[in-house]
């Protein structure tokens, strides 16, 4: 049962990702990317990482991708970008990414052939995640928070002249 669900959702994830790359319409591509993220969320759930699964949906599918769609909508360029995109997607550009993907695929095959030790199937609850974050990974949490703070200050700095101009007007 678990295996069937796992196979279905991983097939959906791979298919959606391929569709995402090959779409010429940016919003259609983003919709496939959202689908792919949701499928990955299901995979996390099936592996027992319920917390990661829900966060995947809240943060990636629910917040970051909304921002992507938001920006694409604001820049709504219509047919022009579709033609531009079509011109970019020539057969030649597939070679590089395909070779890289093939290397990854070969690695996956080696891991599976070697007994697939990666899969644990152990339930992880939120308490364990919290203890891990504020114990062994404290430094990473602090670094991430500093990075976010820098981003926040940067966004404020970039937005400030615009707000000042608006106040004068």
């Amino acid at each position: 049962m678990e295996l069937v669900l796992f196979s279905i959702s991983s097939a959906v994830a791979v298919f959606a990702t391929v569709m995402m790359i090959t779409r010429v319409n940016a919003v259609h591509g983003l919709l496939y990317l959202i689908l792919s993220l949701l499928a990955v969320g299901v995979l996390f759930f099936l592996l027992g990482a319920h917390f990661a699964a829900v966060l995947e949906v809240i943060i990636y599918a629910g917040a970051i991708m909304v921002m992507f769609v938001f920006v694409i909508m604001m820049l709504n360029q219509g047919e022009k970008t579709t033609d531009q995109e079509r011109a970019w997607l020539t057969p030649g550009i597939w070679i590089g990414p395909s070779v890289l993907a093939l290397i990854l695929f070969a690695e996956v095959l080696v891991v599976i052939a070697g007994g697939g030790s990666a899969e644990t199937g152990q339930l992880v609850d939120s308490k364990q995640v919290g203890i891990a974050l504020y114990g062994p990974y404290l430094l990473a949490v602090e670094l991430a928070s500093m990075l976010l703070l820098a981003g926040l200050v940067g966004a404020y700095h970039l937005g400030k002249p615009m707000m000042a101009k608006r106040r004068e007007a």
Binding site: N25, V27, H28, L31, I34, H50, F51, V54, L55, V57, I58, A61, G62, A63, V66, M67, V69, F70, M73, M74, N76, D125, S126
Partner: protein, 317 residues
Amino acid sequence: MNTGLGGAMDIIGILLSVIFVSAMLIWVERRLLAVWQDRLGPNRVGPLGLFQVAADMIKMFFKEDWIPPFADKPVFVLAPTIVFITMLTGFAVIPFAPGVGIIDFNFGLLYFLALTSLSVYSVVLAGYASNNKYSMLGSLRAAAQTVSYEVFMGISIMGVVMLSGTFNLREIVEAQRDGWFILPQFAGFIVFLVAAVAESRRAPFDLPEAEQELIAGFHIEYSGMKFGMFFVGEYLGITLSSAMIVTLFFGGWLGPWLPPLVWFCLKTAAFILFFILLRGSLPRPRYDQLMTFGWKAMLPVALLNLLATGAVALSSA
């Protein structure tokens, strides 16, 4: 854990009753608004106008289901279904009463947040796919509003999580046996309530569809049953938010004398009526006022509440 609570009967029963309640809310809202505005409201179809919903449904089904030629067709069709599906799926984790419900999920609270954040795609994609400047403005507003208020919604309920020590909605209800969380978490409750109204895009936060300035915002181009889906989706959202408020702050099914399920339904109904009263009594703010209020009032209150709750939890532990 994730053990199924009820079988097929529970699922079908909850699904049907939730859809029935949401559909009937169309009538309830129109009658109640009429009462508060000193009018009669729809009272012609059936006793007290009760069959008005059926009449509306028949009208919607027989309307031409028109897709504008300039629309992005697949996305245009997809958009209204998203709000409907995400809101209905949200009811899966609601603890109606002990032994009544669909799943008992350890991260039920986060699951609710995930689905409310997904429901915004409905509005955003509807605005994009309609290819109409008013729709576009409406959905830009919707996206900004929902993403902002989602933040405060998430922070405001962390106080409840701290007090109960779990994300599981059933355990949160059980943790309120000695006192509902409305008292220790009053600030959290206020922030959650405001954010819930903003998330469901109801008046006074209905800027995305402000009739006077944007005609109808994101659903201008929609007609027939697709419009109906947006409409029922909004009422599903209100019902879901009311059920969550009751679960998190008002002790869920807990209460004396009456059976648990009755208590839960009564409390939820009270909040649904409150949502309708809000629409009947408050004016709509300007768009920048809405965003400023969110980031300059809601966020500090939510953070201070979190800080105070954390300090109390640490000192009593």
